[in-house]
């Protein structure tokens, strides 16, 4: 069983295997920003000449501003802590038009990124 000691099981401990992997490195942070709409997968043509780090820093800065963190553009401890907080799985934001890129066709559209118009 999952371990607990209180009658109401309020101290129920999750098993190590069922814990979410902490966001502790660059790759995990990039995935987070992509997953929740802070950045987009860009095609080589659209990101030609733009350093990968630049777009990441932009996305991190946007995330930091929204979360009232110093907008350093860097993956510092407070930023990672904010990414690791319990949260809803619906994406947070729409990117400005110039950053908007088509979503990968295989992915269904979650509620935060709805298509603009329907025929």
């Amino acid at each position: 069983e999952r371990l607990f000691h209180s009658r109401d099981r309020s101290d129920l401990e999750p098993s190590p295997l069922s814990r979410a992997k902490p966001i502790a490195d660059l790759h995990a942070a990039q995935n987070f920003l992509l997953k929740y709409g802070w950045s987009k997968v860009s095609s080589p043509k659209e990101s030609a000449g733009v350093p990968v780090g630049f777009t990441l820093a932009q996305a991190v800065r946007r995330f930091q501003k929204a979360n009232r963190l110093p907008a350093s553009g860097k993956l510092d401890s407070p930023t990672l802590a904010a990414m690791n907080k319990p949260r809803c799985g619906v994406p947070d934001t729409r990117l400005p038009l110039r950053d908007a890129l088509p979503t990968p066709p295989a992915q269904p559209t979650p509620l935060g990124l709805q298509p603009r118009a329907r025929q």
Binding site: D8, S18, N84, K85, C88, P108, G112
Partner: protein, 425 residues
């Protein structure tokens, strides 16, 4: 069928939502059904507890929108508007995988699906540990209805879970956000009145306070004037809050309050009841031992029934009774109708703007201590009666004139029905 419904154009006449805010109305009908999917219950709480929490979460949205929500346990799954379920990792045929305990705790999808990560420690109403299932449910229902995330402090639609304070409710901005999509709550009322309470403070001094009540059908709301909303958790059933008076569709309420008199009456049909404020129930009999309810024709000779509404004018010590297009002025000291009455309502309370008048069949006449004014309600509109202060500011206003009509929902906010199945929560 639900997918095709989604593709159909929405019904017109209402704002669809703003592309700038990312909000868009998801449903075009008034009553929505929901179900906790049978094979997707949480392993952490009892089934009844989970369903109760979801019922409450839906009711909280219903208390501030023209929508109501009904749990549907019998219809085919495809006919249920909103389906909820718990899962772990790969779950419920969903393309998004839950990540285990921590981080993502739930998500919501177009077509009305809400999934909760059962690896999270969801807790019921009484717990102050773990993640409140109620709060998460209210948030996800917000998405299903069409609201996006916001970082506004205090909003239920913030993406991160914030441990709830003792009072977790939908604040003004969340209410207005959802009302931009679905409109404000409208509808006529049976009676609206201020209820006077006399209390003693710690020094034994008598203080007079009042509360505002709106009654419709078999339920009622307490309206908190200082907060511009109804009391959290309203409406409630008349049966439980007001003992001994008719359970529904009351015609009129009058509080005769002057030196030596403090009498409160409810009217329905050809009868009336007197309410005992001290004991919080209707009197069963008067001082002479005659039982209530009594006939209006006996207690108020010359007054017809059934009535539309009535109110007590304190300075003149008259009760104005309204029926159809007529008004009757009743002298409470002489216990009779004034000789020149009945008169046309439009004569006693003339329109300031021609033709802008209820004319007949008022729903309610209400003296407000908050606004120090009398209001006439009919349908979704109200007319304010010219007061002494109005006349001082503009002497050309006719005595007891009616200002042009306004919308009730723009002065008294969020007086919303809920589904009758949730009235007893």
């Amino acid at each position: 069928k639900r997918f095709l419904q989604m593709l159909l154009p929405k019904s017109g006449g209402k704002q669809e939502g703003s592309p700038d805010t990312g909000a868009s109305r998801a449903f075009s009908k008034k009553t929505l059904t929901w179900r906790l999917v049978g094979d997707a219950y949480s392993s952490q709480l009892s089934g009844d507890e989970q369903r109760y929490i979801f019922r409450l979460a839906f009711r909280m949205w219903s208390e501030v929108t023209p929508l109501d929500f009904r749990e549907d346990l019998t219809a085919p799954g495809t006919m249920v508007d909103i389906k909820l379920g718990f899962g772990r990792g790969r779950h419920l045929g969903c393309p998004r995988v839950f990540d285990g305990s921590g981080q993502e705790f739930a998500h919501a999808w177009h077509l009305g699906e809400i999934h909760f990560d059962d690896d999270e420690h969801f807790t019921p109403l009484s717990s102050d540990t773990g993640i409140s299932l109620l709060k998460v449910a209210v948030h996800e229902i917000g998405h299903v209805l069409g609201l996006p995330h916001t970082y506004r402090v205090g909003s239920i639609m913030q993406p991160n879970y914030i441990p709830q304070e003792p009072a977790f409710e939908l604040d003004w901005s969340d209410r207005k956000a959802i009302q931009r999509l679905y409109g404000s709550c409208e509808g006529s009322f049976d009676i609206v009145f201020d209820w006077i309470r006399k209390e003693r403070n710690q020094y034994g001094e008598v203080r007079v306070r009042f509360n505002t009540y709106f009654f419709r059908n078999s339920w009622y709301w307490l309206y908190e004037n200082r907060n511009n909303r109804t009391r959290y958790g309203d409406p409630l059933q008349i049966l439980t809050g007001w003992r001994g008076i008719p359970m529904q569709r009351i015609d009129a309420f009058v509080h005769v309050w002057s030196w030596g008199k403090d009498e409160r009456y409810f009217f329905k049909g050809n009868q009336y009841w007197r309410y005992d404020s001290e004991n919080d129930q209707a009197h069963t009999e008067d001082e002479q031992g005659r039982s209530y309810p009594k006939l209006i024709s006996e207690g108020f000779p010359g007054i017809p029934s059934p009535l539309d509404t009535a109110f007590y004018e304190r300075r003149q010590q008259l009760i104005y009774f309204f029926k159809e297009s007529l008004v009757y002025a009743f002298d409470v000291n002489r216990n009779q109708v004034l000789p020149s009455y009945p008169k046309k309502m439009s004569q006693v309370f003339p329109a300031i703007m021609p033709q802008n008048h209820p004319f007949r069949n008022l729903d309610s006449a209400y003296y407000s201590y908050t606004h120090n004014a009398i209001f006439f309600f009919k349908g979704n509109s109200f007319w304010k009666v010219v007061s002494d202060k109005d006349k001082q500011q503009n002497s050309r206003l006719p005595l007891n004139g009616l200002f042009p009509k306004q919308s009730i929902s723009e002065k008294w906010f969020d007086v919303c029905d809920v589904h009758t199945s949730t009235l007893n929560m």
